[in-house]
Amino acid sequence: MREARIPTEELMGSGHLACQGCGATIAMRFALKALGSKTILVIPACCWAVIDGTFPHSAVDVPIFHTAFETAAVTAAGVKAGLEMRGDFETTVVAWAGDGGTFDIGLQALSGTAERNDDIIYVCYDNEAYMNTGIQRSSSTPVGAWTTTTPVTNYKTRPKKNMIDIMAAHAIPYIATASVAYPEDLIRKFKKAKAIKGTKYIQILAPCPTGWKLSPELTIWAGRKAVTSKVYPMLEITENGNKLTVWKDFEATSFKEYIKPQGRFRHLKENEIEKIGKDVESSWQRLLAREKMLASIPGLEA
């Protein structure tokens, strides 16, 4: 056997309650492998509030505090403060929320926490809708997608909120996107975040077979195609928002291929797909331009 590609420690065990092929679960497994057992999770309402298991059982081997929907960030900040006042400066405190708990209802508390630069890692596992409550739109739901509150006759026409820019505006020391399809990258980012003091924001694309109407075996496939089709760029923002690094070293694939097996996009007509595909490309170009622009500001270069 070769050396394991990722840490072998399993802090997320079997028997949990996620659907088949759940990307959010994979994200957790990787994150915990990166962070190790000296980690405390704070989880608000979201699928993960259920996945963990039913009282008095937990599938996860680190302490978890389940908290109210909109409070992940600040509850985590409280936990961190509480630990430090007990003399524990070592434990990594992680807020682990869905996109609803991040982009929408939890945005305020997250903003407050980020502005104070409280020493936590905030993770948004992004499955692009409220899945726990049965697939309702969130502000992270991408344009064109069906959800139970954006039916096909009235699918989502507004673009996904740019949460990354919002976080960058807080000048926190570390922001990154990740995808369950790139475990080494994800683990590297978590390890990096763990070593930085302050608020770290990591947004993980976590495909949801149930909510995306995607065959479960395609979870990782979707996590990969989202990246290679430029829909979900892999990036890092460091130096308090001043340095943007976009991962570009991949063979680009098409938007159409990415959405094809996803039932949530099935209603889209050819011209609509084309239009959204173009928007994806222009967002990507804007991102690259921004990367260049930031790099060109004298005194900001690394």
Binding site: T39, P63, T71, G78, V79, A81, L83, M85
Partner: protein
């Protein structure tokens, strides 16, 4: 050390003496001085704590919940709108069985905007599962804090201390300030066995089906029942340490009274003055201050009130559609034990002054009122 301080600052000094480790609060009139002084005390090192300056009361309570779950002694203060915004997290603190202490400065709820006192904010949290203690003086607002932590940490429920806006919060009185060293004997450092701890990993608050939710709630109720004894014991112990004794209720000249006025908060002191005046006139009247609303002191209340001939409850609050809250509570305490008249009076809402004159008016009216219809009387409403 005795010092003339405002009620809000008495709260802050109580926090200092209690060696609180994490404070998280958001400013709201009339609580702001508490936060300001705490900021200063933390900044200058008089309190060895972290003060998480959150962006809302909801987050303040969430931060307290987190910090308390991590095993640290935790405090917050708020008022009115802020308390309401906290609602969800107040419940969370109870369900998670966290010994957080909160001081709420009673303030009326908008609209219209009002910054003046009444009890509707704290009373709307009556059923959440917090212990509620209504304070009457600046001394008490300070003394209540170490007691509250001691009670909370023993029974694993949070405690809400309540004081009237302005009449206490902004009023200067002489307060015998507690010294940290003295308090440490009374209130040892908080070191819970169960907490968020990577060496002993548990997950808190997991989904629970109908199979155990009720049992968990039952245990909260059990803790509330236990709290009665604990509150009394702690009040006594506090007295033994500091010479100031506290109890669930405070009767005043009730022994042979034909009429007892039931009060809470600052109205209680005013009422006592009126009682003295009326006693001088030969009227057999007494007063009963209810200090602890939750858990409700059924036994104390019924023991005292069953020996009188008439009860008048003064409510600085209104439960729309069902009279004043203290009135309801007293009635239920006396249910089946006596058939004396119990009459409720609503007064002082939104900071309307409850002067000795107003109380006298209530007392005179109560003497005359015989099982009046309606049971509830609005005092001083411009009709």
């Amino acid at each position: 050390m005795k010092k003339v301080v405002m009620g809000n600052h008495a709260v802050s000094y109580g926090v200092r003496a209690s060696e609180v480790k994490v404070i998280s609060a958001y400013p709201v009139t009339p609580q702001t001085h508490i936060v300001e002084l705490l900021s200063e005390l933390v900044a200058n090192g008089e309190i060895d704590a972290k003060f998480i300056k959150v962006e809302s009361e909801h987050s303040a309570m969430a931060a307290c919940v987190g910090a308390s779950a991590a095993g640290s002694r935790t405090f917050t203060a708020t008022s009115s709108q802020g308390l309401l915004l906290m609602t969800e997290m107040l419940h969370w603190a109870v369900g998670a069985r966290l010994p957080i202490v909160l001081t709420n400065v009673n303030r009326a709820i908008g609209p219209p905007w009002s910054i003046w006192t009444d009890q509707n904010d704290s009373l709307s949290m009556r059923d959440v599962g917090w212990i509620q203690i209504y304070c009457e003086s600046n001394q008490e607002t300070q003394d209540a804090i170490p007691q509250a932590f001691k009670i909370a940490e023993e029974i694993n429920l949070p405690v809400m201390l309540v004081l009237d806006a302005f009449f206490l919060s902004h009023t200067y009185e002489i307060v015998d300030l507690l010294e940290t060293e003295q308090v440490r004997d009374f209130l040892p450092p908080y070191n819970p066995e169960i907490k968020l701890d990577t060496n002993d990993p548990h997950s808190f608050g997991n989904l629970s089906g109908p199979d155990y939710y009720m049992e968990l709630r039952y245990m909260i109720e059990e803790a509330m029942n236990d709290a009665r004894g604990v509150i009394k014991r702690v009040g006594k112990e506090f007295g033994e340490h500091f010479g100031r004794y506290y109890d669930m209720v405070v009767p005043y000249r009730c022994d042979d009274a034909d009429l007892i006025l039931v009060t809470s908060g600052t109205v209680a002191s005013t009422t006592r003055a009126v009682i003295d005046e009326m006693r001088d006139e030969g009227i057999k009247i007494g007063a009963l201050k209810i200090r602890v609303l939750r858990p409700f002191p059924f036994k104390e209340v019924s023991d005292i009130l069953c020996s009188t001939k008439k009860v008048a409850v003064l409510d600085r609050n209104i439960s729309f559609g069902n009279h004043g809250v203290f009135f309801q509570e007293v009635k239920s305490a006396l249910y089946g034990k006596t058939d004396i008249p119990i009459i409720g009076y609503i007064l002082g809402l939104g900071g309307r002054d409850v002067t000795p004159k107003v109380i006298r008016e209530v007392a005179d009216k109560a003497i005359k009122d015989k099982n009046p219809e309606p049971y509830i009387n609005w005092i001083g409403v411009k009709r």
